[in-house]
Symmetry: C2
Subunit: 416 residues, 2 copies
Amino acid sequence: MAAPGENLRINGDRLWDSLMEMAKIGPGIAGGNNRQTLTDADAEGRALFQSWCGEAGCSMGLDMLGNMFATREGTDPEALPVYVGSHLDTQPTGGKYDGVLGVLGGLEILRTLNDLGIRTRHPIVVTNWTNEEGTRFAPAMLASGVFAGVHDQAWAEARTDAAGKTFGGELDRIGWRGDEPVGARKMHAFFELHIEQGPILETEGKQIGVVTHGQGLSWTQVTIIGRDAHTGSTPMPMRRNAGLGLARVLEAVEEIALAHGPHAVGAAGHIDVHPNSRNVIPGKVVFTVDFRSPELSVIEAMDAQLKARAQEICDRMGLEVTFERVGGFDPVTFDPGCVSAVRLAAERLGYPHMDIISGAGHDACWINQVAPTAMIMCPCVDGLSHNEAEEISKDWAAAGTDVLLHAVVETAGVVE
Amino acid sequence: MAAPGENLRINGDRLWDSLMEMAKIGPGIAGGNNRQTLTDADAEGRALFQSWCGEAGCSMGLDMLGNMFATREGTDPEALPVYVGSHLDTQPTGGKYDGVLGVLGGLEILRTLNDLGIRTRHPIVVTNWTNEEGTRFAPAMLASGVFAGVHDQAWAEARTDAAGKTFGGELDRIGWRGDEPVGARKMHAFFELHIEQGPILETEGKQIGVVTHGQGLSWTQVTIIGRDAHTGSTPMPMRRNAGLGLARVLEAVEEIALAHGPHAVGAAGHIDVHPNSRNVIPGKVVFTVDFRSPELSVIEAMDAQLKARAQEICDRMGLEVTFERVGGFDPVTFDPGCVSAVRLAAERLGYPHMDIISGAGHDACWINQVAPTAMIMCPCVDGLSHNEAEEISKDWAAAGTDVLLHAVVETAGVVE
């Protein structure tokens, strides 16, 4: 199939205007967005997206979990569609671009193709996946996970939020449940454009991240049991201070991650200290160690070292330690053909680019299990995301969407 | 004044029966007590204590903060009373002995003197101080603090519990406010018998702790500011991990305390991590460092070292750190004469004893500011206290009360 010409570009101003228009729905309290999944604001955002897709001449499909599929027809009735997209839902104190750029960037490439009268052999479908964030209904990437066969649909619908409302009930309430069986669609390929949510591209001065892998992760919940004791009346040698055990294991986590650099990372974000009283030596500490790497063997090695080091530390201090695996997913290797299409698009367009590993989970990580998939990343200011202060530049958004356009058009095939 | 004969002993069975009888009021859920200050259970406990004092021939004084004073008259109308006592209120999940032993041990010495027809020159007064625990109405040792002039009475009465009820209102509600001005009484001496609430006496095989000092303490709240960031998408060298800063400062706290051993101690019991999410590198950690020593200069040195070390650690890691003093009291040196009376009593009675420093605060620490004061400690099993499983043996209770009897009688003067 012919590659698109290097002068083929999306309309960056129109894309930006759409991003700003969508951001008016479910405004946050600090300039960002609170448009959590299956809320009234989510319904309003979906309706706006649907109306834009209609104006672009697309038909809209809707499956039983509310996943939206806006189709621009191709010329070959036998050809499977090329899918693009991401998610319109946000964190409670989220930004304007996380997910939204991937959906509206997808819409923008359809608008551009319409402007230029370009026809493709394969249809192109822009998708909005329901509940990527997972903040209201855990886990994250829920509906794309069902689509890919990772989760059971009934289980997903029974997930509850903090108020006890179910995913299925809220989906019905906002009126966005469709008839399509989840996962029935077959894809020729899937491309997801997303902000990096990390500082690498900006630091390296690159506009495009060619995502070759998704990091795998392992979450180990560590419980250290010492002994509650009065901070005043217990001599130092008689203490069994679980808080000091925590400190030493955190240092070990840092050392283990650094020893597996540069791609491995490790930290504990969740730490609970009991009884958490100023005058009681902690008798119990529970925390979760998060290790990530693009290589499964490295994750397994880090987990094993954590257990050995923590056991040794706690044995020496008269503390008990137990470990529980509370989450994880295997590393993702994206499709070499799709990744190559992204890299070639960036080169053709002359955008500074680099290969990058996604540190966060994305819908694309699940869809990769059922279709050839790749991701494109663009920088975000200071790597900040999941924060109302999340920011990107109009140029970054346009460059990422240009690359998405070229990768998709090349994969979908221009009809001369 | 003549010392009492070495065969003078209290009635250990009667003391134990009274302890068990009092423990029936405000039972806990695990064998201990929940008789928090100014509750209905507290009122019931006070009434039982008052009835026992009446049976022992004592008159009962009551001050405007509910402090109770049961007086056994002396022979010299000019002689100031020797006071003994502690507190009947408990922690929400408290033990049967913390405080109670000091009050009912005081009652037991009056009963013993009655049994034997022993008269003393100075009156002997058994005191129940209101709200020693401070769990319901902070701070601890509230009414003895007002008595000693440390706190203002109106401020004390305005203290509120978690439900917004005031100390003064609850005191009126349970009907235990008296007419006596708080702190008007003058004391010849004050002795407080208390369980150790630490493991030293049991470990050393001593039945009696001769309390020479109360540790001073300093509470420094440390706030470390890093940067919230995704645990996956932030490379290790770009992190500003406040949780790792916490770990390193906790190690420094341990080193500083050990360097000032054997009497200095240090730990952090209170640790809050923000945002405390499994996939967010902590951007902020707030924790309180508790340093204690019987020497003020040592406490000051430890505080200074903490600030220097924490600053150095955080500077190196790109973290900000601030310090706020949130609590403290100066070390207490008990009255040499009273301490000597306790030590001589233990020797006379043949109980294994050792000098000890009180690591916790007690009513005696405040009363020491207005009267010659000393404390007697007895062991508790495994050093456990502020816990329903708090336990002591009948022999330990009796030995401690024997020493209290001898020290008090020698100080009050037996009339031959």
